[in-house]
């Protein structure tokens, strides 16, 4: 192979298939995400813009940049605040940039952390370059091998919601890989990927909101 990709084309297991829209999966999840003791850390780009378009809540933090660290931030919140459900909305490009972080999730596996990876097999926001999941890397298997207690794949919004509910019920840290379409149309109020909510405004609002949810000291 001389170090080259064996094939320049996509050869993910569902190449050519029609995938679910990320927005549809987010719509299915949104009622869960706005529950009072649930907080969300999401990566930037399409996920952030679409989540915000469905209705921002003070418990949503949009990590606009610092690619790869959404799961680490979620882990930090989860181990400090076991009384909350912490949902990380991640992406294939971000997870691939912090694969070691998956082993840290597997190692500490907080029972209140649900890690959802929207895998569109693409670095969409910078022009749609295929990631290694487009050529066969399987993030659910990588997460399982990193010792994340529960892992699975979801291909429809119903499967995403069902996997989410089972993750919360099980009280075991779960990584759900949701295979989604490599497509994004900027929602109203959003220019490109720049959302109306200011980055620092969101950050301070989020921290203040977590303060109001203070439970018993651990």
């Amino acid at each position: 192979m001389n170090g080259k990709e064996p094939s320049k084309g996509r050869r993910g297991d569902s190449a050519g298939a029609i995938r679910m829209r990320r927005l549809a999966a987010l719509e299915a999840l949104h009622p869960r995400l706005e529950e009072e003791r649930t907080v969300v850390v999401t990566i930037m780009g399409a996920v952030a813009a679409e989540l915000q378009s469905l209705g921002h809540r003070p418990g949503f933090f949009y990590l606009q940049h610092a690619m790869g660290l959404a799961s680490s931030i979620g882990l930090g919140i989860a181990v400090c605040r076991p009384e909350l459900t912490v949902v990380v909305l991640d992406g294939d490009g971000s997870v691939l940039m912090n694969l070691g972080g998956l082993t840290t999730l597997g190692r500490y596996r907080p029972s209140n952390l649900v890690h959802i990876v929207f895998d569109n097999e693409s670095l969409l926001s910078v022009g749609g370059f295929p990631t290694a999941t487009a050529t066969g890397a399987d993030l659910a298997r990588i997460a399982a091998a990193a010792d994340v207690p529960r892992t699975g794949r979801a291909d429809t919004p119903e499967e995403v919601l069902d996997a989410y509910d089972r993750a919360v019920e099980s009280r075991e840290m779960t990584t759900i890989v949701a295979k989604v379409e490599d497509h994004y149309a900027a929602p109203a109020e959003t220019v490109g990927f720049v959302t109306p909510l200011g980055l620092l405004e969101n950050r301070f609002q989020f921290a203040r909101h977590l303060e109001t949810l203070k439970g018993p000291r651990i």
Binding site: V41, F61, L63, Q64, H65, A66, M67, G68, L69, A70, S71, S72, I73, G74, L75, G76, I77, A78, V79, C80, R81, N98, G100, G101, T103, T104, R107, Y108, L199, L200, R203, F206, A207, L210, E211, K214
Partner: protein, 171 residues
């Protein structure tokens, strides 16, 4: 020349006295006792990292959660964390207390540590990260206190460089 248990204890106690409850670390020789104290302390959450940049995320999460934290790493780990520091802690104005072992400076006998030693302070300065040195037991508590105060007043990262003269002691 062992790593100083007493001085490590002094640093650990100072962190605790300022309310640090989460410590993330990628261990190296000089940090061995500090990491052990964190592990043995039931009131401290210790997160052992695969790569230091994760620790920036851990501290961001802890801060949002209302918990004070510190990130322990070698200077080469700091070099590996720069984007997380810039695009995470600095962009989002998060106080981040970094304790960085200053490898590669005078007295360094490991050839592989020497390049990092040349650039660490310059890089901290380029990033406008306030820094101070911990080199003697007399000033450890006071400098950790001041670093902590500045990090929280400015909502930015600060760095304390752990020096050879503090961390090592004659056998």
């Amino acid at each position: 020349m062992p790593v100083s248990i007493d001085h490590s204890r002094l640093i650990y106690d100072a962190l605790k006295s300022h309310g640090v409850r989460l410590i993330s670390a990628l261990p190296e020789t000089w940090l061995v006792h500090l990491v052990r104290f964190a592990e043995e302390d039931p009131d401290t959450i210790l997160v052992r990292l695969a790569k230091e940049e994760e620790g920036v995320g851990l501290s961001m999460g802890a801060h949002f959660a209302g918990v004070r934290s510190a990130l322990l790493m070698q200077n080469h780990g700091f070099l590996a964390s720069v984007n997380g520091i810039v695009s995470g802690a600095q962009l989002f104005r998060v106080p981040l207390l970094m304790l960085i072992t200053a490898r590669g400076e005078f007295g360094e006998s490991d050839p592989w540590q020497t390049e990092g030693g040349l650039v660490t302070r310059h890089l901290l300065d380029a990033l406008r990260i306030p820094r101070d040195d911990l080199t003697a037991p007399e000033h450890v508590a006071e400098r950790i206190a001041k670093a902590h105060v500045l990090a929280h007043a400015s909502n930015r990262p600060v760095a304390l460089l752990l020096g050879r003269d503090l961390m090592w002691e004659p056998a």
